[in-house]
Structure formats: C-alpha cells, structure tokens
Symmetry: C2
Subunit: 341 residues, 2 copies
C-alpha cells in the first residue's frame, strides 16, 4: 500500500509500505477512507522531535476490512472512527474516561494512518461504528472527530466550559477552533477567541466565538480582563503548547477558574509558586477522544455540528508533502488527505 | 498589647505592640482567645522568605471586642472564627467559593494574630459566628479550622476525595494530617498517609488513614502502586510545597486522577510535558477556608471531628520562641499559643 513517512525533518515522502496484517486476535484492519495532517505532526516535521523514517498520521475514518479472531463489536464493512490512541476501553483508567492513558494504549502515530490501510489494535475498545452512510461533509467531520474535535472537546470539558461561563481560547489552529465549537455546544454564553488571522477569526465566529482578541501577552490579558469586568475567563482552552501560550492561558483565567490544556507541551515550565498563587484548576494532556466519540458521531450524523469545515485544503495522499508545507507555512489550517485512489 | 514579631530569621520576640483600632467601617477588633504557629511560618523563620520585624500569625479564634459602623453580621461578644485571608464574601470570586482570592483580600499574616488582639478587615465577610460556648477541646478544634483544617479540607476537595476513592497524602505535618481527616469525612474508602514518624502515623490512623507508607521517592511510588493494583491513587493531597513532594504527588496519582496541592510552593517547577503526559487534574494554592467554615464549625460543635488534637504543644504567648523552635526541630507537630493572660 501507499503511505506517508517522514524520512527526516522537512522530508515527507509517500512510499510503498507493507500492507498491514492482523498481528493479534484483537486487531482489525481498516481501509482508511480519509486521513489528515495534525498540528502535532509539525513538531517532528520542524525537527523539534527526533525522527527517522517515521510512518506518519494518527487520525482516520475508514471501513473495516478484516478482523482478528477476538474482535466482536465491529464487522467487515462497518464504517468506523477511532481515536488517535488505541485503548481497551475496559481498564480502570478507560472506565474513568481517560482512554488516552489506557494501561494497554497504543499510539496510532506509531502505526501511521496517512496510508491506504491501517492496523487498529484493540479494535473492540478503539473503534466506534458510524450508523448509516455518511455524506461527504459528514465524512470530513467524522475525520475531525478522530482527533482535533475530540481534543478540542476534551479541552472544553477540562476547562469546565458550560452555561454561564466565559471561555477564552488560546490558539487558533484546528484544535483551538474545535474548542470554540465545543464550548458553544456545551452551552458557554461568551467565547473569546484569541486570533490574529482573518480566516481563522471567521471560522471561530462560525463555530460560536462571540469575541475576538488579537492582542497577545500582557495586552491580550488586559483585553480579556476588560471583557470580563476585571475578573478574567472562567474557562480557558490552551491549544498551542508553548511557554508563551501557557503563560497566556494562566494570565487570562480568573481565580477559581479552569484551564484545559491540549497543546503538546514543548519546553514548557510551570512555576509552582505562580500556579499556587493563581488558584486555577489545570487538566490537560492527550485527549481521551474515545470518551466523546459516540456523542460526537451522533452530533455529526444528525448535522448538529459541522467540524469538517476546518479542513481548508484537500489533497490526494500522493501530495502529502505539499500538505505539510501548507500547514507549516500556515497557508492551511488543516489538510485532509484522500487516501483511496 | 503583647504580640509576636519575627525580628529576623530565627529571632522570634514577644513585644509590646499598639492595640489595634478600627481603621475602616468594615473592620472588627477581636480579643484573640487562642492563636497558633503554622508550618508556613517556618519559611520566613528559616530565612526562605525575606523578613524584618514582621508581625506573625494568621490563625485565630476569638471574641468580638469592637465593630466598625458598617459591620452588621457580628456583634460584640460573639465567639468567632475566620480564615487566614480576610474576604468580602460577595465578589464573583468569593461567590464561586474562592474567598482566598477575593478581589479585596487582606492576608491576616500582614496583621499578625499571634497577639492579644487583632483587627479583622471585612468582618462581615470574614468572620463566622460559633453557636453556643465551645468547650476547651472544641475551642482548639475551632482554631485548627482557621487554617490547617480548612486547608487540608480544601486539598481533599480539590483532590476529589470521596466514596470509592483511594487517597494518598504526601506530607505528615498538620495540614497533611487534616487532609487525612477531611478525606475520611468526605467518604474516601482508602487513605494512604506517607509518613516516617511514629507519632504522626498514630495521628494519621486516628484521623482515618487505612495505610501508612514510609518509603519516599521511587520506592514510595512503587509502594502506592502496589496498594492500588498498579494504578496509583485517585486523589492525592500534596501538603509540603517542595519539588520532591510535588514529584511524589505526581508520581503516585493515576491517570485521570486529581492532585490537591496546598504546601506553599518554594522553588517548585512543574515540567509542562510531564504534566501533559500524566493527564492529572491539579488544583491548589491558598485554601478558601471561608467556604468550608460553616460546615467545619458545625462538625466541631457537634463533636463529629476533633482536629484540635493536632496541637501537641501548648505554650503561653510569651514563650512563642520555644514554640517556633519546637516546630522547626519537628519536636512538635503544631503549637497552640495561649494569648490571654
């Protein structure tokens, strides 16, 4: 099959890779109907993480092609979505809703879903069946659910976005924009998107942002304080993962507020005394997307949300390198890869 | 009046201080019936915080002696307890239960309650009336409620201790021990106290600890994993405030768990990637003791809890310096100062 590998930082190639096979009885093989490029794929692309001939991609929507002898909840031909972390969905951590930290977790990024097929470990726990046949627009939204929507949703839940809450969103990438959508769905009355880009501002407003703040740093904090009678946001979504973005998130959140952070942290240090003084709740990390998938699939298949519009560039798998360049140069918010010829 | 000052690190003196007076119409003056020495007082005592001629003490139980013209909810003669942070109890932050971060907060440590009298700012918001006349044992417990009990309680609430939860407590000082008591009251089934001292272990067991772990570091983490089928604690109380204790807390908490941290952080750095990978909730800081005071006073006055037994040394105010030495040398867990002659 054809699949994307990152040969070295900046060097994306589409190559012949061996077709995946059932390795364990709990595996399934899916035909990937669409995959995409994640903001977190840019970290190794830019050389921030060591990398060599790495298969790329961890988001996917597909059709079950083959199942292992111990797979019981999905069948060949089912349209399925799964999280970027395969999980058994039965351990105590999964049962508590933190499937991304399943004691048997397998990172789909180690398998690489920017490919025509993919092996899905722990298929019963990982895959969720999509009822009916998705429209093309719904299929794009389902792909978003696999990571960015689920991650933004987790961030909004971790930030306790809800009725009566003012939510600030730091980061206008796909995850930040999904956080806006999630905050809106969760009932937040006021949603402040921090963004300097007109196209992203427009999407943020479409997803439910009521206010846009272009300033950053101290000016950004002051702007959000101004919008909240001096108190700051109740709920803040951090969707970048840098020291600057974490400081921004802590700065705009009121005492007693909540920060949901899902930007993959790079060189971030949090000062213990500052966190002590702030008295804010923090929860973040790899999002347990699996927890939210049934609800998200329902919202998508009943056309209540359309997260798929976050894909503003679509390319055939063979042109993946251009997709990486476009996202790296911020010409695209998120790139969908058509994996079937 | 007589009162304690810290002249310089290690130099505790009991001196004549001016009697407090009503400075604002919202002030009250109380006769302090008992005060005490806090673990956090040891930071400046040991030179970790700069200090010069600082009035000491922020915990108190007392009787109202005088009220300002705008004080309406307490009257002269009332037995009262307040938090170590004076708060208006009406701003949005207070209403959300974070009175320790009231927008008009006054730290009682800046006033100094290790004295015969004390001015209480924002008396209506700060002071809670004790119904009836406390017994000597109840009076000691009420004094504990002013900080250590309220702080341990907040830590347990922040850690989401409750039925079905395994709670780990890092730190066997007064606050950690109060955290054990709080976890028990909140319904936790298993409470693991980390302690190496026989006297503190005994108190921890009295307050509800079901297990004691003496090991620290990796061995301490392994011991708690062993007690929890490899998962770690659901809820962890961090009551020390050092890099080591925070690492211990993060190490013993399961994915999806909660850390309530109330040790005043000194030189603590939290690695953003580590926090990301751990996927634990963190909430801490100065405890909003005022939130819990009505409930704590009720539990104390109905003899359902006896946190006052945490005071294992009682001295007259004039001997405060010996109290500081005893706590510094860990000869005493917590020292009560009798402030009335």
């Amino acid at each position: 099959m054809r699949g994307v590998i990152l040969q070295a930082p900046g060097d994306v190639r589409v190559v012949d890779r061996p077709d995946p096979v059932i390795e364990k009885p709990t595996d399934a093989i899916i035909r990937v109907t669409a995959a995409c490029i994640c903001g977190s794929d840019l970290w190794p692309y830019r050389g921030a993480d060591p990398v060599h001939e790495k298969p790329m991609g961890h988001e996917y929507v597909g059709v079950v092609d083959e199942i292992g002898s111990d797979v019981h909840s999905v069948a060949v031909g089912d349209v399925v979505v799964g999280s970027f972390v395969a999980s058994d969905n039965t351990c105590e951590i999964c049962e508590a809703g933190f499937q991304s930290r399943c004691i048997h977790q397998v990172m789909m990024g180690s398998i690489g879903t920017q490919a025509e097929k993919a092996r899905i470990p722990l298929a019963d726990g990982t895959l969720v069946i999509v009822p009916g046949t998705p429209t093309p627009a719904q299929a794009r939204s389902l792909l978003a659910a696999s990571d960015v929507l689920g991650t933004g949703w987790f961030a909004a839940v971790a930030a306790e976005a809800g009725p009566g809450k003012t939510v600030a969103v730091v980061g206008d990438g796909a995850v930040g924009l999904m956080g806006v959508l999630a905050a809106k769905q969760l009932g937040a009355g006021r949603i402040i998107a921090m963004s300097r880009h007109a196209d992203r501002q427009a999407l943020a407003r479409r997803f439910g942002a009521t206010d846009i703040v272009e300033e950053r740093g101290k000016a950004g904090i002051a702007a959000i304080k101004d919008l909240t009678a001096g108190y700051g946001a109740h709920s803040t979504i951090e969707a970048v993962g840098t020291q600057e973005s974490m400081a921004q998130a802590m700065g705009v959140t009121r005492a007693g507020g909540h920060i949901g952070f899902v930007g993959l942290a790079h060189d971030v240090q949090i000062d213990g005394r500052e966190l002590f003084v702030k008295t804010v709740s923090m929860l973040g990390g790899l999002a347990p997307v699996r927890r939210f998938l049934p609800e998200l699939i329902n919202l998508i298949m009943t056309d209540q949300i359309d997260p798929g519009v976050v894909f503003d560039m679509t390319l055939p798998l063979e042109e993946a390198a251009e997709g990486y360049r476009a996202m790296d140069e911020r010409r695209a918010i998120k790139v969908l890869l058509e994996t079937q010829r």
